[in-house]
């Protein structure tokens, strides 16, 4: 009854072959990550120390630490979040909960997709035109952060909208049938169940914002500053730009320095991503329906 035929065998061989092929492709995908990480740790690990993280660069940036760049990146990301999260979440709530299915909504959705597709250098030049020159913020943390915020807005909107949409429609209808307004429904039932997904999106946005270079290099990030920024209208150094500078613009930099900077940068991004993944796993265990 269960004898294998020639055809069975051939199908099984093919199936094994394809499984192997797909697995190889997947492994191929993780090799660059591994190579990058091991190289960075091997070549830059030795320079990492508390001093490296918390002192200023010295000797024309060929020695010393990276503190002003690290500090500046945190500032840039924080201000960008302060702007993009409220706007992005509000837009996502509107699109998911209120927007009727009409031409306006379709245009908004199209705009979001296109905004996500705009190259970062174009965002950078837009930021120069709009924030630095037109709004007269000058090259400053504010201008750079606003540019970053606009660039990452689609990430926040799409992630938030998706987590709102993941709340079943039946929950909303049950509330509406009780006489709840749309806002009451959103506040009591939809948002509490979407907030975790929104947070995950925000963390991913942080990790993306941290590494961006082009949008900040004309709008607020400085080549070198001997002091820390005092407010949002000051320029600042930033980790990503600092990496670019020490790897290509300054002569006589010891080899381990740029590797060390890259390692710190990537560690920050990986940390953010791991937090987001851990958060998602934690929530999956707490499924509410």
């Amino acid at each position: 009854m269960f004898e294998t035929s020639e055809l069975n065998n051939r199908n099984r061989t093919k199936q094994k072959l394809f499984q192997l092929l797909f697995m190889m492709m997947t492994l191929l995908l993780i090799t660059p990550v591994l190579i990058i990480l091991t190289t960075l740790i091997y070549k830059g690990g030795s320079i990492i120390s508390v001093d490296f993280l918390f002192t200023f660069p010295t000797d024309g940036m060929t020695a010393g630490g990276i503190f002003p760049a690290l500090f500046g990146t945190v500032w840039l990301v924080a201000v960008a979040l302060l702007v993009s999260v409220p706007i992005g979440v509000a837009a996502a709530i509107y699109l998911s909960e209120y927007a009727p299915e009409n031409w306006l909504t379709r245009i908004i959705n199209l705009a979001i997709i296109n905004l996500a597709g705009v190259p970062s250098i174009v965002h950078a030049l837009f930021g120069v035109g709009a924030f630095v020159i037109f709004f007269k913020f000058g090259t400053s943390i504010l201008a750079a952060s606003l540019t970053l915020a606009i660039m990452t807005l689609p990430v926040v909107i799409v992630a938030s909208r998706e987590s709102l949409q993941a709340v079943p429609k039946a929950f909303r209808e049950a509330c509406w049938n009780m006489g709840a307004t749309r806002w009451q429904t959103i506040r009591r039932v939809v948002l509490p169940n979407a907030v975790s997904g929104i947070l995950t999106g925000v963390i991913l946005e942080v990790s993306r914002t941290t590494g961006e270079t082009a949008p900040i290099m004309f709008t607020g990030a400085a080549f070198f500053l001997p002091y820390l920024p005092q407010g949002v209208f000051d320029q600042t150094m930033a980790l990503s730009l600092h990496l670019f500078v020490v790897s290509t613009q300054v002569p006589g930099v010891p080899e381990e320095l740029p590797y060390g900077v890259a390692l710190v940068l990537i560690a920050m991004v990986l940390l953010m991503n791991s937090i987001s993944i851990a958060f998602r796993m934690y929530l999956r265990g707490k499924k509410k329906w």
């Binding site: 009727p100 209808e173 509330c175 509406w176 049938n177 009780m178 006489g179 709840a180 009591r188 509490p192």
Partner: protein, 264 residues
């Protein structure tokens, strides 16, 4: 003369909870229900029977103005609730608050059992914990769920079993203190023992509210409904006293066939 008219109107208003005239419902251009005229009296259980696609659910949706949630659903005709034209009222929230709905598939909101039932009272402004406790307990007892959940009111309502969730849904509908309770095939996800318990509850509730019972079980309509309407393919074929219909006192052959189980 004038006084007579007023008297008649007053009398009608007293007895008619819902007055439905020439109700037609379309999804895009496809009719789901056509030219239904009927009235539902206060404190009666009004049964609606009929096979799938008869327009029963659409009928309920129109009464609750749920057509607003479905982008291509259109409703024509007049529906008067307590004498008010529901299509003219601006305050649909007040309308929905007076009409409780229970759908075939139970919806336990992802809140605690307590909060599921306390939600509607909270939305209408009740904050006093003691008052909420009373409402929650009363509604859960009425929905025949209290004994099973009284020790774990803080666990999630959405994680109860299907039958329990359906009773939670009923408790939630009752927590609105509705004037009309609409049940759409509520017993699909409920075992037969619980169904009987809920049916007993419905008989008691009749003293306080008007009940519209859409059911695919003709015998359930017979057990509960004072009057029954038979819907078929988007038309209301027949309306009559339930007993009349079931003893064969019908005008249309299709009604007789459906009740006797020849189709459906």
């Amino acid at each position: 003369m004038v006084s007579t008219v007023e008297a008649v109107m007053e009398k009608t208003e007293q007895h008619l909870k819902l007055d439905i005239r020439d109700l037609s419902i379309y999804y895009a251009d496809t009719p789901a229900l056509e030219n239904v005229t009927l009235d539902i009296r206060e404190h009666e259980i009004f049964g609606i029977i009929g096979p799938a696609n008869a327009g029963k659910t659409s009928f309920l949706k129109a009464i609750n103005r749920m057509d607003m949630f479905t982008s291509n659903m259109r409703v024509k005709g007049d529906i008067h609730f307590n004498g008010f034209d529901i299509r003219k009222t601006r305050n649909i929230y007040a309308l929905r608050k007076r009409i409780g709905v229970v759908f075939p598939l139970p919806v336990g909101l992802p809140l605690t059992i307590y909060e599921n039932v306390a939600l509607a009272p909270r939305l209408s402004g009740i904050r006093n914990k003691a008052e909420l406790d009373v409402i929650v307990e009363r509604c859960l007892i009425r929905a025949a769920l209290w004994d099973e959940v009284k020790d774990r009111l803080d666990s999630l309502g959405s994680l109860l079993s299907g039958g329990q969730q359906q009773r939670l849904t009923i408790a939630r509908a009752l927590s609105q203190e509705p004037e009309v309770l609409m049940l759409d095939e509520f017993s699909i996800a409920v075992d037969s023992v619980t169904t009987m318990r809920i049916e007993d509850v419905l008989k008691e509730l009749k003293a306080e509210m008007t009940i519209i019972l859409v059911t695919n079980l003709v015998q359930q309509a017979r057990r509960l409904a004072d009057r029954t309407a038979f819907f078929l393919e988007g038309k209301c074929v027949e309306i009559g006293d339930t007993e009349d219909l079931f003893i064969g006192n019908v005008k249309e052959q299709s009604t007789r066939d459906y009740i006797e189980g020849k189709f459906g």
